[in-house]
């Protein structure tokens, strides 16, 4: 059964009120792996009876990589246009599965006139679970050794370390922390627009360094909360030829697997 996902424009035309806007982001829209996370989130939201919509083609990059590369002009061009769109639809609450979008929408748009309640999908899923709107069955991950990778933009930059861990705990998985976790979590190497350029000369790539640490935990699954981390960690693990032994998943994918039918 295909699930219908509406855009704000469609909802507006049909005269429907929407509670939350699901901000998909560039990776979630176009990157094949991240698209699967987007679809997962859309399915979870639908099955939890959340009234939501996306912006579709009216959505643009939040501008995060432009701002961090130093291109303030481009960042503000995108930000101001996005804010116009969001304000036009009277958006109050935004959820997103990308911590970079999350950070920019939450912390950088207010100064340019965009004031919204912005929630990262790990926080939102936990909230739904606590409210009883999202029901998961423990068990499918019990005894499975997994590790969790803190993204910089959710963890260190926005101080959210507990929501993803509480979700993991709810799935009865056996969480093995890496040495560099929480405030000391090691970057995957993608932030600050590094995703879009070659590395400067060095001994190794940052994602290789992180993959090494993941492999030392002996976990068969590494849980992430960011599409760019997922790309970086997947590549890092591949560089050790361990892609068949260690899976890189978004936390929402574990939730969907465990949802009560």
């Amino acid at each position: 059964m295909t699930i219908q996902v509406q855009t704000m424009a469609e909802a507006n035309a049909a005269g429907k009120e929407v509670d939350v806007l699901f901000w998909v982001g560039c990776a979630g829209s176009f990157d094949a792996r991240a698209q699967r996370v987007t679809q997962t989130m859309a399915e979870i939201l639908s099955r939890s009876n959340i009234s939501f919509a996306i912006l579709g083609n009216e959505e643009m990059c939040t501008g995060d990589p432009a701002r961090r590369a130093g291109n303030e002009f481009l960042f503000q061009m995108l930000a101001v246009q996005n804010i116009q769109t969001l304000n036009l639809y009277g958006v109050k609450k935004i959820i997103t599965a990308c911590p970079h979008c999350f950070n920019t929408l939450k912390n950088e748009y207010p100064e340019l006139g965009g004031h919204y309640e912005v929630v990262h999908h790990t926080q939102y899923l936990l909230q739904l679970m606590n409210e009883g709107r999202l029901k998961v069955e423990g068990g499918s991950f019990s005894g499975k050794k997994i590790t969790y990778h803190d993204s910089c933009y959710l963890g260190r930059i926005n101080d959210e370390y507990t929501a993803p861990r509480e979700l993991i705990a709810a799935l009865d998985a056996d969480l093995t922390e890496m040495k560099r976790c929480k405030t000391k979590g090691l970057c995957c190497g993608a932030g600050g627009a590094q995703m879009f350029k070659e590395d400067e000369p060095g001994k190794k790539r940052i994602n290789t360094e992180r993959a090494e640490e993941i492999l030392t935990t002996g976990a068969s699954t590494v849980v992430a909360n960011c599409p760019f981390c997922i790309t970086m960690l997947t590549d890092g693990i591949k560089s050790f030829d361990k892609q068949d032994d260690v899976m890189v998943v978004d936390i929402s994918e574990m939730i969907l697997q465990s949802m009560e039918k």
């Binding site: 295909t2 219908q4 996902v5 855009t7 998909v24 829209s29 176009f30 698209q35 679809q39 859309a42 399915e43 579709g56 083609n57 959505e59 643009m60 990059c61 501008g63 990589p65 961090r68 590369a69 130093g70 291109n71 303030e72 002009f73 481009l74 503000q76 061009m77 995108l78 101001v80 246009q81 116009q84 920019t104 939450k106 912390n107 950088e108 100064e111 340019l112 910089c152 260190r156 930059i157 926005n158 405030t183 000391k184 090691l186 970057c187 190497g189 993608a190 932030g191 600050g192 627009a193 350029k197 070659e198 590395d199 400067e200 000369p201 060095g202 001994k203 190794k204 790539r205 940052i206």
Partner: protein
């Protein structure tokens, strides 16, 4: 006679210290004006916790504990220091003793125990730097003066501790030999023990000299600048969300006028803007410069930097050190050089402050390779015990490169172009919502 000498020395030290502080203050003020005074009560609280309370040091217990010994010894010695100054000026000896009585004995004993612990910490720090060569404190960027500076400070601390014990143990001996002038301080455990061994057979004159030497040794040398600057640095630290990069309102005006949202920017306004980002210290904020002068070069930032950990050239500590080096160079060039006595004044090499131009910039100190390697992960920001933000100057230099020079990594150009043309980081022919057709399948 000794009082006059003391007053001279004391006032000379004060003048020198004042001049040095004024110079640093003026150099910091070369930075751009920014406001960092909102929510003062929260700032005081943060200063109490982070600067006074050493809160962030304790994410790493080992060094934190040893640093605490030195910190507490320094803090409590200030009480004795006040007494020494009062003694020196008034010609008294241990003037607080009659007022405090047994508390005085306890206090001095406490200071002595702390001093011994500080000595232990200092020795461990010296070993770490010079024998074990712990990476964080023996990195490339510390070669030359910074490494020497650290060792001098540590040796200075040994001298200070030695000064305290010399003074007190000589005093103990003098209390026995000349109880009229040297009042009974009660038993000073450590000094009494030292006293018996060291001064058993000394004559009273020699002892007086030794005691006074210890006394002078104990004077307030301005050592680590961070001892003072950590406090204002924490007070004036960034209070906006960590993930919020400082906005450029001049660009907001231009963008809004381009999108027809606000009155158009006039040509005069545009001309006023000039350059974007930071090419030199004048383009950084005074906060950034205060950060640079407060940096103790401990390297916690560099140790956690993902770029540095994987062998890239970037080191947040080196960024801060470079900013300070450049600021000091500008400061030196803009103030008149001191002409040695007996020489003709000749031509002044002083460079005017506005517009300042010595043919150099921050880019002569910080390479592009360094600023390009940053992932903006904020590990350095998190790691700094005194809330220095190495990220902002890196971003300001990136802004200069991209906005003013239209330069920067070539790899970023396709990203910029597609963001401009299609509002997406990748050049994508497909629709943004093509994933919609197969949800739930």
């Amino acid at each position: 006679m000794q009082q006059i000498l003391f007053l001279c020395l004391f006032s000379m030290t004060s003048i020198l210290a004042f001049r040095k502080f004024r110079q640093i203050y003026l150099t910091i003020r070369l930075g751009k004006p920014v406001s960092a005074t909102e929510s003062p009560s929260a700032r005081w609280k943060k200063m109490a916790l982070v600067a006074f309370g050493q809160q962030k040091m304790f994410t790493n217990w080992g060094p934190a504990l040893f640093h605490l010994f030195i910190y507490l010894a320094f803090l409590f010695t200030q009480i004795e220091l006040i007494e020494i100054i009062v003694d020196g000026v008034t010609g008294n000896h241990r003037i607080f003793l009659p007022y405090l009585g047994r508390i005085y004995t306890l206090l001095i004993n406490f200071i002595e125990v702390l001093s011994l612990l500080a000595l232990l910490a200092t020795l461990i720090f010296l070993i770490r730097r010079n024998v074990l060569k712990t990476p964080r404190v023996s990195a490339i960027e510390l070669r030359g003066w910074p490494a020497k500076d650290a060792n001098i400070i540590l040796f200075g601390e040994i001298l200070l501790v030695a000064g305290i014990f010399t003074m007190n143990s000589a005093d103990v001996q003098l209390q026995i030999l000349d109880p009229v002038h040297y009042h009974d301080t009660g038993t000073l455990w450590l000094s009494s023990w030292l006293s018996a061994d060291l001064w058993q057979n000394s004559s009273i004159n020699e002892l007086t000299v030794v005691e006074r030497t210890g006394w002078w040794l104990h004077l307030p040398y301005s050592k680590h600048l961070h001892v003072f600057l950590a406090f204002p640095n924490v007070y004036f630290s960034k209070f906006t969300p960590r993930g919020q990069i400082r906005n450029m309102p001049e660009i907001t005006r231009e963008v809004k006028s381009m999108l027809g949202l606000e009155a158009e920017t006039t040509a005069a306004e545009l001309a006023e803007i000039g350059e974007f980002g930071a090419k030199d210290i004048f383009d950084l904020s005074w906060q950034n410069l205060l950060n640079a002068f407060s940096c103790t070069e401990c390297g916690r930032c560099t140790a956690v930097c993902p770029a540095h950990q994987t062998g890239k050239k970037l080191s947040p500590r080196k960024i801060m050190m470079s900013i300070r080096d450049r600021a000091e160079e500008v400061q030196k060039n803009t103030s008149a050089p001191l002409i040695p006595l007996g020489q003709n004044s000749g031509e002044s090499t002083k460079i005017p402050k506005e517009p300042y131009d010595d043919g150099k910039s921050l880019f002569d100190y910080i390479s592009r390779e360094e600023i390009h390697a940053c992932t903006t992960c904020n590990a350095c920001v998190e790691a700094c015990p005194i809330l220095i933000d190495p990220l902002e100057p890196i971003l300001q230099m990136r802004r200069y490169e991209i906005l003013t020079e239209s330069a920067g990594p070539a790899d970023w150009l396709p990203m910029f172009t597609s963001m401009e043309n299609s509002g997406c980081v990748w050049q994508m022919p497909a629709e943004r919502d093509s994933w919609r057709t197969s949800v739930g399948t």
